[in-house]
């Protein structure tokens, strides 16, 4: 058994760092479920100007970078989407106000957050987090029908301690499977390989697969468009990408657009050289 590395006071702080990071990420999922995204960006994300510039939000098809782009996508575009989803309800029922108080009508967005794995950097300045989401998402329509899906995917985050408080800096929300409620996944069209045109053996893809993942309008147009997650290749790089014990955050391997997340093995090797 080695000698004690940290002081007792430092160990207590790290004990709480673990809980605080886990709890911060749980709060993200509650905000996400309730469309409380402005509150999330204000309360849970980085605040210092230099960190706001480098903050990022990854989806399957790319990264939104900087808080302006993140806010535009994550809050403004969602609000626009919610208004467009509300419109048919108001058309069908003129007594229903086409206003902010009725946004989210017909929406279900529930995330069960499994297996939160996290490590605090040895230098105590950053933390890395990963979890697996089993989501339930539904979009209702005025005619009483609804698009109801089980949504699955891994979520990754780099967090940063700003003035003693943990904040989200880089967040990646991937999506593997979007299975309609009441239908067998086996009834989906089978996937065809397109060797040399995507991912592992070809350029990074920037489009989404309509049979999996969120819809194109939900994914939007990321600032940096490249493969962040391709469900075809699954979790091939999960072991490299998952949080491991570390001294200080290495930008080559972080969960932001400068990191190698989503890149094929040869790109990763080239960067390491």
């Amino acid at each position: 058994m080695g000698k004690q590395y940290y002081t007792d006071d430092e160990l207590v702080e790290r004990l709480w760092d673990y809980e605080d990071v886990k709890q911060l990420m749980a709060k993200h999922f509650y905000c996400y479920a309730g469309d409380e995204r402005r509150k999330e960006l204000n309360d849970l994300w980085v605040r210092l100007p230099q960190n706001r510039r480098t903050a990022s939000l990854g989806v399957n098809t790319g990264f939104y970078t900087g808080m302006e782009d993140i806010s535009n996508y994550y809050v403004v575009q969602l609000s626009d989407l919610r208004y467009s989803q509300l419109k048919p309800f108001c058309d069908a029922d003129p007594s229903l106000d086409y206003g902010k108080n009725n946004l989210g009508r017909g929406i279900l967005n529930n995330s069960a957050v499994y297996s939160p794995l996290l490590h605090i950097a040895e230098d105590g300045k950053t933390a890395r987090y990963m979890c697996y989401i089993q989501g339930a998402r539904a979009v209702g329509h005025a005619d009483g029908s609804a698009d109801c899906r089980f949504m699955f995917g891994l979520v990754y985050a780099d967090l940063m301690k700003e003035q003693g408080e943990w904040k989200i800096w880089h967040l990646i929300i991937t999506n593997d499977h979007a299975i309609p409620a009441g239908k067998d996944y086996g009834d989906y069209p089978e996937w065809k390989d397109s060797f040399g045109t995507t991912g592992q053996n070809g350029p990074l893809r920037v489009h989404h697969d309509p049979n999996n993942s969120y819809t194109e309008e939900e994914l939007g147009t990321p600032t940096v468009q490249r493969t962040v997650y391709d469900p075809f290749f699954g979790w091939e790089h999960l072991y490299e990408d998952m949080p491991h014990p570390y001294y200080t955050l290495n930008p080559l391997h972080d969960y932001g657009p400068e990191g190698d997340f989503g890149m094929p093995y040869y790109e990763r090797e080239r960067r390491n050289v």
Binding site: Y114, S115, D184, N201, F232, E236, M242
Partner: protein, 257 residues
């Protein structure tokens, strides 16, 4: 007698490390990185045990053999088969353990109790697992097409014991109780079981023993329409002084050897 500040701190850090080990296991298992699990986080002794309803593997060697040569290799061979045909050439050159995988024994929040002597910890948790295959799973091949997608909820619960050896926390006992499977999302598990049992009163979910074990199952029951409540093998641990046969998910295997 109450514990000192240092002893309490050791226990608190142990709670987090045990939770982290359990989660780490879930992820590396999901991509068949069996060496990264068994070489790193297991106690390598004859009293390590791994139990499922089909039986108990006794001793690290048997656990290691079953997982690395059995379960892990089956997944790898399946991927080789896909890449070897001309159907999925993109998989060639990929890591056959993990390429295409995307299923996980997703772990819920855990109940964790630490021994007063600080040398062991015990965990109880559920898993709401998902078995996913975007490119064909043996269960649906032929039924839905050769490379039909497959998704299934696979829920279980665990009792696990951990020991503190040479300054590190290690797994010593894992006991898995499978509860149900439900295909996403074209079926209703309860109704399926009801109908199957109505059609055939002798119906059983027991599928035998798929690998080498020291104690043969069944050691637990999956959910069934006539199943008495599962006062099964594991409940949340009670406060305890040290790992022994009264306080263990593997009675008879609690000496560190």
């Amino acid at each position: 007698m109450g514990l000192s500040f240092k002893e309490r701190l050791h226990q608190a850090l142990g709670v987090q490390e045990i939770e982290r080990l359990k989660i780490y296991h879930a992820y590396v298992h999901s991509v068949s990185y069996e060496r990264e699990e068994f070489d790193k986080i297991w106690f390598k002794g004859e009293n390590s045990t791994w139990t499922h309803w089909f039986g108990m593997m006794q001793g690290f060697e048997m656990i290691y053999y079953n997982h690395t040569m059995g379960e892990g290799h089956m997944g790898v061979l399946d991927t080789y088969e896909k890449a070897d045909t001309d159907e999925f050439p993109s998989f060639r050159g990929g890591d056959v353990r993990s390429v295409g995988s995307s299923g996980l024994h997703g772990l819920t929040e855990c109940y964790i109790e630490m021994a007063k002597d600080g040398k062991s910890g015990r965990l109880w948790a559920m898993t709401a697992g998902v078995m996913m295959d975007t490119l064909g799973h043996p269960k649906v091949r032929g039924e839905k097409g050769p490379y039909a997608k497959f998704g299934e909820a696979s829920w279980e619960y665990y009792g696990a014991d951990f020991v503190y050896v040479d300054g590190e926390w290690k797994y010593i006992h894992e006991s898995v109780v499978p509860v149900f499977h439900n295909r996403y999302d074209g079926e209703n598990m309860g109704q399926r079981q009801y109908k199957v049992t109505d059609d055939n009163p002798e119906h059983t979910l027991w599928r035998g023993i798929p690998c080498r074990v020291g104690v043969k199952g069944p050691l637990a029951q999956m959910y069934d329409v006539y199943q008495p409540v599962q006062h099964l093998l594991q409940e949340c641990p009670e406060p305890y002084d040290h790992l022994d046969d009264e306080h263990s998910y593997s009675p008879g295997h609690n000496e560190l050897k």
